[in-house]
């Protein structure tokens, strides 16, 4: 055991003592100086098996420290004794001081007691002063508050709501929190909302009153505005009339500029008239409205008020749209439209001067509603109207409404569209009215020339329709070439033109002459022409009446030129443009019917005389030298006819009628030769007919002076048929008819069949004189041979 243990212990201390001890001591010193826990070091000492060393070191250390302590105690023993002595003396001094202090305190208490009383009084007084100051401040605040309240009440009493609201706001903002009195504060908290509500109700009531008032004002305002537009239009019309007169007289273009300048000036005046000036009937008051709006803005209720305003104005507008079913629209339409016009004049003002109370889009919204409603009402009312005058009245007022509101910037195209849409209906009604009037006028005609005793009658019946034949005023009494139908119908047509132009004027369409012309054409060609044709075909009794109608038609032809010129003038179209355009006569059918009627009656008359052709001696021994009886009668009649006709009929008409009559006479002659009533005739009879034709031609020549163009050949040409036939029969070479060239030149009116029939009837004189010697086989006449050839060839052709 001992032998093995010493070598291990020997090795460990030898190496560990030097380095390990140094390191441990260093660490331990650090730990001690750092006041660290020494536990780990102690445990390490014991686990390593070296406690003795540690104990040795500790004991050594302890003995060195005890030495030091003894040294210190020896050195300071004397100082300790001295300190104790000092403390003893100090104690006695303190006891002295204590007595002294007690005495001072007693004396001080004795002296200070009066001062303490004063101090208490002072503190109490200061508190009182502070409270009084607070009270004074509070009262001062209350005084200011009361002053503001008084002002607020005064403003309320004076209806100065804005100032009242300002006072209330000031009270709420500046005094409510400062007010010490809870009673006062509760009162204020209760009254302030009440005052605001009161102001709101009051202002709303004022606004309500304004709404009621503005409706009456709107109607008057609308009527006034439309009245001004009407007056402006009247002035414009007067200027146009003067301008037309000046143009007709002098054709000066300078005057137009002068009138235009004047019109522009007047328009400027008118434009500024409505609602702009503060005074007069034209002005209206937005004070209540602006005040209400301002108050609501101050109350913080701007949006609500704007909404309220818009809704109520919209309701008022909707109420304005009601059209009474008890009152005819014709009576109520002016009020209806004036109310709406006035409404929008007011809204325009509110838009411009209301400070944003209503927006442009909202006004346009209201206007769209109004236009839609007005168009609907107009459509409904127009669809039920059966009188043209009623449509015209409504149209005039609507166009004035349009002019009025366009001046305020409202678009009126939709309204004008409604008017245009009913243009056809209006004109149909006009045509219907005119049809009745014309039928009455035509039925009243006595087919007698009108007698005018005074100049104004001439002016009224002739000059006003420009149907005079001379620019010289005739002597009175004056017998007109026409009957009463002519001026009566002219008046009806002129009224139609004026009514048509009235409807088309100011209707938004600037160039309406073509429309007026179209309807005028319809009136003349459909209504008047038909009425006249009917009159001519049903009511004519005798040649004189037919002649009067033909004369009337000639006059009406001139009147038609006037009608279109008149329409152009009223439509604002220059006359030279109208005259440049050529136009067909609208009453052509009636004119043709009149001339046909006259021709027919004359032919019937002539037929009566032509029956005398039966008395012609077709196999006479010699030709009558002064014509047959029938032709002399006809010529006598025609001479009388012409002398009468030339008083009322224009030469052109008379010429056309005579052409017809002559052609008829020619046909009758040919017809007689062809008819079975004539079995045979000889050359002498044909020669007599030739004399008759020459007598007629001579009569025609005598009429040349009647025709302005001096064209008398047309009358001769009317006798061509009979003349060519007679020429053929008297010709020595009748077979020339077979030659196309000769036939076209000399016999172009002849019919093949008729030529055959008539030629076969021609008998030679030798047949009768030498009848008994037929058997002798005498040589044939060359003409006879030619005629036989013609007959044979024509038969073959047929």
């Amino acid at each position: 055991m001992l032998s093995s243990k010493p070598p291990r212990r020997k090795v460990v201390p030898a190496n560990g003592d030097d380095s390990a001890d140094k390191l441990d001591q260093l660490l331990l010193s650090s730990a001690i100086s750092n006041n660290e826990d020494l536990g780990p070091f102690i445990r390490k000492a014991f686990t390593s098996g070296k406690p003795e060393t540690l104990h040795h070191h500790l004991r050594h250390f302890a003995r060195s420290k005890e030495s030091e302590i003894e040294e210190v105690c020896k050195a300071h023993y004397q100082d300790f004794i001295l300190a104790v002595d000092d403390l003893r003396s100090l104690l006695s001094d303190v006891d002295s001081l204590k007595s002294s202090l007690s005495d001072s305190n007693s004396r001080l208490q004795h002296v200070a007691r009066p001062l303490l009383s004063s101090l208490d009084a002072f503190v109490e007084t200061r508190n009182v002063s502070k409270n009084v100051n607070l009270a004074i401040d509070s009262v001062r605040t209350c005084v200011k508050l009361m002053e503001v309240c008084t002002r607020a009440n005064r403003h309320l009493a004076d209806d100065n709501f804005y100032m009242a609201l300002k006072c209330v706001d000031a009270i709420e903002r500046e005094y409510l929190d400062q007010t010490a009195s809870s009673t006062l504060r509760r009162m204020l908290e209760k009254k302030i909302p009440e005052i605001r509500s009161y102001i709101e109700r009051k202002v709303n009531k004022e606004f309500g009153d304004w709404l009621v008032e503005i409706r009456v004002v709107s109607r008057n305002l609308g009527q006034l505005a439309i009245g001004q537009a009407s007056a402006a239009r009247q002035r414009e019309e007067d200027l146009r009339i003067k301008q037309r007169q000046a143009e007709e007289q002098s054709r000066l273009s300078v005057r137009d500029c002068i009138y235009a300048l004047e019109e522009e000036d007047e328009d400027g005046i008118i434009a500024g008239g409505i609602g702009e000036d503060g005074g007069g009937a034209a002005g209206f008051d937005l004070t209540s409205l602006c005040r209400a709006y301002h108050i609501h803005q101050t109350l913080g209720l701007e949006d609500r008020f704007k909404q309220y305003y818009f809704e109520n104005r919209k309701l008022q507008l909707t109420s304005d749209f009601q059209v009474s079913s008890m009152t005819p629209f014709l009576e109520s339409h002016q009020t209806f439209f004036a109310q709406i016009a006035g409404f929008f004049v007011v809204e325009d003002r509110v838009l411009r001067a209301g400070g944003g109370l209503i927006s442009k889009m909202e006004v346009e919204n209201l206007w769209d509603i109004a236009v839609s409603k007005m168009c609907s009402v107009l459509e409904d009312q127009f669809s039920r109207m059966q009188t043209a005058n009623h449509l015209l009245l409504i149209k005039d007022y609507v166009s004035l409404l349009g002019v009025t509101l366009r001046r305020y910037g409202y678009p009126i195209d939709a309204l004008l569209d409604v008017l245009s849409k009913h243009r056809d209906k209006y004109h149909e009604l006009l045509l219907s009215d005119c049809r009745k009037l014309i039928a009455e006028a035509v039925a009243a005609d006595k087919f007698e020339q009108m007698l005018m005793k005074k100049e104004y009658e001439y002016s009224m019946n002739v000059l006003s329709f420009q149907i005079q034949t001379s620019d010289i005023i005739p002597a009175f009494p004056y017998v007109a070439p026409f009957s009463s139908t002519v001026p009566d119908c002219c008046r009806i047509v002129r009224s139609f033109i004026e009514d048509s132009v009235s409807f088309m004027s100011y209707g938004g369409q600037l160039e309406f002459y073509e429309v007026v012309k179209k309807y005028l054409d319809r009136l003349l060609s459909e209504v008047l022409d038909e009425a006249l044709v009917k009159l001519i075909n049903t009511s004519i009794n005798g040649v004189s009446q037919a002649m009067q109608m033909a004369a009337n038609m000639a006059v009406l032809e001139r009147a038609c030129d006037f009608f279109f010129r008149h329409a152009a003038q009223l439509s604002g179209v220059p006359l030279r443009m109208v005259e440049r355009s050529r136009r067909n006569f609208p009453l052509r059918k009636a004119r043709d019917a009149a001339e046909e009627m006259l021709s027919g009656l004359l032919k019937a008359k002539v037929d009566g005389f032509m029956t005398l052709i039966e008395n012609v001696n077709w196999m006479g021994d010699e030709a009558p030298q002064s014509g047959n009886e029938y032709v002399n009668e006809v010529i006598i009649y025609l001479e009388i006819l012409v002398s009468t006709a030339q008083q009322i009929l224009p030469s052109q008409v008379l010429k056309r009628v005579l052409q017809e009559v002559f052609a008829h006479i020619s046909e009758k002659i040919v017809g007689t030769l062809v008819s079975d009533s004539v079995k045979r005739f000889n050359v002498n009879a044909i020669t007599g007919i030739e004399v008759d034709i020459r007598l007629l031609e001579s009569f025609a020549d005598n009429q040349a002076s009647l025709f302005s163009d001096g064209d008398v050949d047309v009358l001769r040409a009317s006798l061509a048929g009979s003349k060519q036939l007679i020429n053929l029969l008297l010709s020595n070479h009748p077979e020339n008819f077979l030659n196309p060239v000769i036939r076209e030149r000399s016999y172009n009116t002849l019919d093949h069949k008729k030529v055959v029939i008539v030629s076969e009837k021609l008998r030679d004189p030798s047949d009768r004189l030498f009848g008994t010697f037929g058997s002798r086989g005498a040589r044939q006449n060359p003409k006879r041979k030619s005629l036989d050839t013609l007959i044979k060839r024509l038969r073959d052709v047929s």
């Binding site: 309500g208 709404l211 009621v212 109520n312 008022q316 009601q322 059209v323 009474s324 008890m326």
Partner: protein, 217 residues
């Protein structure tokens, strides 16, 4: 000892409300009988009636107010509606011209179906909407004078003139009844004792019975 009365009233008057749909008849009724106004505009279906008792010259009058729809499709009840009515309140809306224009038609119907002695008052309702007025007071006054009607403008919303309208009708009815009662009383003077008068105007031939006058002691 005091006797308990048989009825709470001396007279029962039937009054009908007529006029176009939407003029406010039902609200006039509810304002008068229940002091209520309903902003929702519901159309009346069929017939409704309500009562209210009030004093007319010392007499207790019970007003039985009949309200009906203005639409055409409820006209089947017309005769029954008007039977026994002694008063009519003809209502139009001052903001709708058409309702005023139709007053003539309602009058014609009233005179066709109701008793000829019926008391008629014309009422222009919704007078609170003065800013939307479409029928002027003058126009209505002229029509009333022409047709022999009483006329008032009312507002069921503001309770303006509603009570007055009914009181006027009941007052006029009472006076007509009184005159007829007086005539009947003179005719039956031989009986000595005054008799109560029946409400039915068309049966004034002295049909005793029904409601009696109130007697105490």
């Amino acid at each position: 000892m005091a006797f308990k009365v048989d009825h709470e009233y001396d007279y029962l008057f039937k009054v009908v409300l007529i006029g176009d749909s939407g003029v406010g008849k039902s609200n006039i009724l509810s304002r008068f009988t229940r002091n209520e106004f309903c902003l929702e505009s519901k159309s009346t279906i069929g017939v409704e009636f309500a009562t209210r008792t009030l004093q007319v010259e010392g007499k207790t009058v019970k007003a039985q107010i009949w309200d009906t729809a203005g639409q055409e499709r409820y006209r089947a009840i017309t005769s029954a509606y008007y039977r026994g009515a002694v008063g009519a309140l003809l209502v139009y809306d001052i903001t709708k011209r058409q309702t005023f224009d139709n007053v003539q038609r309602w009058l014609r119907e009233l005179r066709d179906h109701a008793d000829s002695n019926i008391v008629i008052m014309m009422a222009g309702n919704k007078s609170d909407l003065n800013h939307l007025r479409a029928v002027s007071t003058e126009d209505a006054q002229s029509l009333a004078e022409r047709e022999g009607l009483s006329f008032l403008e009312t507002s069921a919303l503001e309770a303006y003139n509603v009570d007055k309208a009914f009181q006027t009708i009941l007052f006029d009815i009472y006076h007509i009844i009184s005159k007829k009662a007086l005539a009947a009383q003179e005719a039956t003077s031989s009986t000595g004792l005054p008799q109560g008068t029946t409400i039915n105007v068309s049966n004034m031939a002295g049909n005793a019975g029904g409601n009696r006058s109130c007697c105490s002691n």
